[in-house]
């Protein structure tokens, strides 16, 4: 029972990342009709927003410590962050410690700008082109973006730790009446799940309860008619692209403390996120979220020692296996609508 709960928690956590990325993918596909293979790169850029802010907050001046030597036997160069010098070690250190939560605010305008520039500068020229062209150009863009990040940040992962207050784990099992250490779960993973839930709810609320969202939904259903009503739907769709980029970016910022960001992390998520979108149903936002969590939980269970011993390699194929079964039984995916991607 405790293993079951533990893997459900893990699955929800993993599914959070899938759901956030798939949500953005679906938003872009549903509004603009573009299959965006650069969406994983947006997740990665978001994570590197946190790395960048961490470096900015850690900008330091150097003093020479004659009492210590470096690897060449020279006096050791000691770095002191300007923030600690200006505000004192405690306040300055606390600001640096909170670099990831602060990076959420830092990343929003950057990701919105990246999304809008990407859409206006490149992707809009491919609206009327076949999906294969869109896939090629966005996949190429993803490679260019990740190589740029690698050039400036290197190939090695870079730690973006959570604030000290959110490090470590909680013994949830004891709270539920299980033995000590039966269900121990990291605090930041629970925060990640809660954060994802809030973002997903906010996106749905935005589309559901605002006039802007209503117009966008109308445009998703019938773009031509909305245009005939004199509404500049293209401008709204551009903003939706920026919003989708911001969602992916925020998912990346918050993911950094779970697994240190590296230039390839977007690609690691991209294929799985596309499977999530297809399983959920192309163009269906609730489908993307549902499939994200569902496949995350399945992947988690398939990675247990019991599963891998019973069926070796199941952890590597389970998502694709389930995708095949779902698409065979429900060709439009879990919540796909008739007519989407069928013409």
């Amino acid at each position: 029972m405790d293993i079951l709960l533990l893997q459900i928690l893990n699955g929800l956590d993993k599914g959070s990342a899938y759901a956030l990325i798939a949500l953005g993918l679906t938003l872009i596909f549903g509004t603009l009709g573009v299959v965006n293979f650069a969406h994983g790169a947006l997740f990665m850029i978001g994570a590197f927003c946190a790395v960048t802010l961490q470096r900015i907050l850690n900008l330091s001046f150097i003093t020479l410590d004659e009492t210590q030597k470096d690897f060449l036997g020279q006096p050791l160069k000691v770095k002191t962050p300007y923030l600690e010098a200006w505000f004192g070690p405690e306040t300055g250190g606390a600001i640096i410690d909170w670099s990831v939560p602060l990076a959420v605010l830092f990343a929003i305008p950057i990701m919105l700008a990246v999304g809008v520039i990407m859409e206006r500068g490149l992707i809009k020229h491919f609206y009327s082109r076949p999906h294969a062209d869109q896939i090629l150009v966005t996949f190429g863009l993803a490679i260019v973006l990740q190589e740029i990040i690698k050039h400036y940040y290197g190939a090695n992962p870079i730690q973006t730790p959570p604030p000290d207050a959110f490090k470590g784990s909680v013994d949830l099992g004891v709270m539920m009446g299980f033995d000590v250490n039966a269900i121990v779960y990291p605090l930041w993973r629970m925060i990640y799940f809660a954060f994802s839930t809030v973002i997903i709810a906010a996106v749905f609320a935005f589309l559901r309860f605002t006039t802007f969202g209503m117009v966008v939904r109308a445009g998703m259903a019938d773009r031509e008619t909305v245009g005939l009503l004199g509404i500049d739907i293209d401008r709204r769709f551009t903003i939706m692209f920026g919003l989708a980029a911001a969602v992916a970016g925020l998912a990346g910022v918050m993911y950094g403390p779970l697994n240190p960001p590296n230039y390839h992390m977007g690609m690691d998520f991209l294929v799985l996120s596309f499977v999530v979108v297809v399983v959920g149903g192309m163009g269906s936002l609730p489908g993307a979220v549902l499939a994200g969590f569902l496949l995350g939980i399945l992947e988690s269970f398939a990675s247990t020692a019991w599963a891998t011993t019973t069926i070796p390699g199941i952890n590597q194929i389970v998502i694709y296996l389930v995708a095949i079964i779902i698409l065979l039984t429900r060709p439009r995916g879990l919540m796909g609508r008739k007519g989407v991607m069928e013409e």
Binding site: K14, L72, I158, D268
Partner: protein, 447 residues
């Protein structure tokens, strides 16, 4: 009426055979025009440095390349000479190799076996390299070693830690200076017993490929020999990025030690996940829970950040060693590049010098003569103490370092500290040891 024996079918047959003959890569037919593959004829000799320049190990490959370039400089008499000043063999004089100026070309392994073979093949066929050196993965090393054997080229392996490289997949043309999984186990087990006691239960997470398998087998055998019990061994896909699903069940498995048979990004992520789950803060079986990372590298330690503090592992070499060879290399490398070298940089640098020295002592670039000069070669002054290149399997035997993540690092390079220098005698094994069985060196191939 005259009758000809020439038929349409005969012409096609002959043409096909001739075409196929012409199409055979020159590396497999070189012996007909030269004494051996890529025999240098001009005033220069070209070495091939095949390292990951793209992909997840690009930083490690970059460090290897820096060291290889430094070795070429030293061989050509430029710079301060580095380890040439401390190397026990005095055959090299800083005038190239056998009087020929040393040049080099580079290839990108991408840490993929097929890409590594393709780049090595290109270096051998197009650039006429006499030796291939480098790499950051056992899968790549074994693949390139096989290619060099077929082509008649010496392969001086870079970072490869799988027992198989000089075990079941050993080749006469391949030589490994780096240590292996067995040696890590032999060095680590007594230190682990002293640090954590003999009554321990270990849970292994293992990267699902040749290196992971052989390291896990070695560590399990060595720790069980000192009294530890192995609770479980779970294979994790090499492409895994999040290990939470594998780590979550560890705490209630009854284990009190987690052994991470992971390297590079896998290790950084699995260690980060393990620390997140609070494993190191827990008491299990009345003991403090511990994590072990059997194979360390400086870049991995830097990537893992504070998670590495207090975690024990092993290394082939480290820049903090106090011997004269290490000091000379660290000075050369540090002054040129502004950072201390990694242990993968060290092994590539040493391998390049060892190859050049063997050619010089043999008086020939012929790979079989070079191989003979390396086999059974005893040397010192290269940072690892007295070292033997064993003839039976082309594995170097030398001291092994047991390391620990530093608790209070003073700068970005101060991530690990040396716990023990395990003497060579403790990590030696018989050539027919079961963990290395199943292959043979075969015959040297000169092309």
């Amino acid at each position: 009426m005259s009758k000809s024996n020439v038929t349409r079918r005969g012409v096609l047959k002959t043409g096909s055979l001739a075409g196929a003959g012409l199409a055979i890569p020159t590396i497999f037919t070189a012996s007909s025009v030269a004494a051996f593959t890529n025999e240098p004829t001009g005033g220069t000799v070209t070495l091939g440095f095949n390292v990951p320049q793209t992909g997840p190990y690009a930083d490690e490959g970059g460090d290897e390349l820096r060291a290889q370039k430094l070795a070429v400089e030293h061989l050509n008499g430029e710079g301060d000479g580095g380890m040439l000043n401390t190397f026990s063999s005095k055959a090299l004089q800083g005038n190239g190799i056998l009087g020929k100026k040393v040049g080099f070309v580079t290839g990108d392994t991408q840490t993929k076996s097929d890409a590594a073979r393709a780049s090595a093949k290109s270096m051998i066929e197009k650039d006429k390299v006499v030796m291939v050196n480098g790499g950051s993965s056992s899968g790549v090393a074994i693949a390139v070693q096989g290619l060099c054997q077929e082509a008649g080229i010496i392969f001086m392996a870079g970072l490869t830690h799988s027992n198989d490289t000089t075990g079941k997949d050993k080749k006469a043309n391949g030589f490994r200076h780096f240590f292996n999984g067995y040696m890590s186990g032999a060095a680590l087990a007594p230190v682990l017993k002293n640090a954590y006691g003999a009554d321990r239960r270990a849970y292994h997470l293992t990267a699902d490929y040749t290196w992971g398998w052989t390291q896990q087998e070695s560590i399990q055998a060595a720790t069980e020999a000192v009294g530890w019990e192995t609770v479980n061994n779970v294979l994790t896909p090499l492409a895994s990025t999040d290990f939470s699903a594998y780590i979550a069940p560890v705490l209630n498995s009854g284990a009190d030690v987690l052994v991470l048979n992971h390297y590079g990004g896998n290790m950084i992520n699995s260690l980060t996940n393990a620390v997140q789950f609070g494993l190191r803060d827990k008491m299990v079986n009345g003991k403090q829970f511990e994590i072990v990372v059997p194979l360390y590298s400086e870049l991995m330690a830097a990537g893992a950040g504070e998670n590495v503090q207090g975690v024990i592992g092993s290394m082939n070499w480290n820049w903090q060693l106090p011997d004269e060879g290490t000091k000379a290399f660290v000075k050369s490398f540090g002054e040129k590049y502004g950072r201390p070298p990694s242990n993968s940089a060290h092994t590539c640098y040493v391998q390049t010098l060892l190859y050049a020295d063997a050619v010089t002592r043999a008086g020939s670039f012929n790979p079989c003569a070079v191989g003979e000069a390396l086999e059974g070669f005893e040397f010192d002054g290269m940072g690892n103490g007295p070292t033997l290149y064993r003839a039976d399997d082309h594995q170097c035997f030398k001291d092994v370092l047991v390391m620990k993540g530093k608790e209070n690092p003073t700068n970005e390079y101060d991530t690990l500290e040396i716990v023990e220098v395990t003497p060579r005698a403790q990590v030696e094994y018989a050539p027919d040891h079961p963990m290395f069985a199943g292959g043979s060196l075969g015959e040297c191939n000169a092309g």
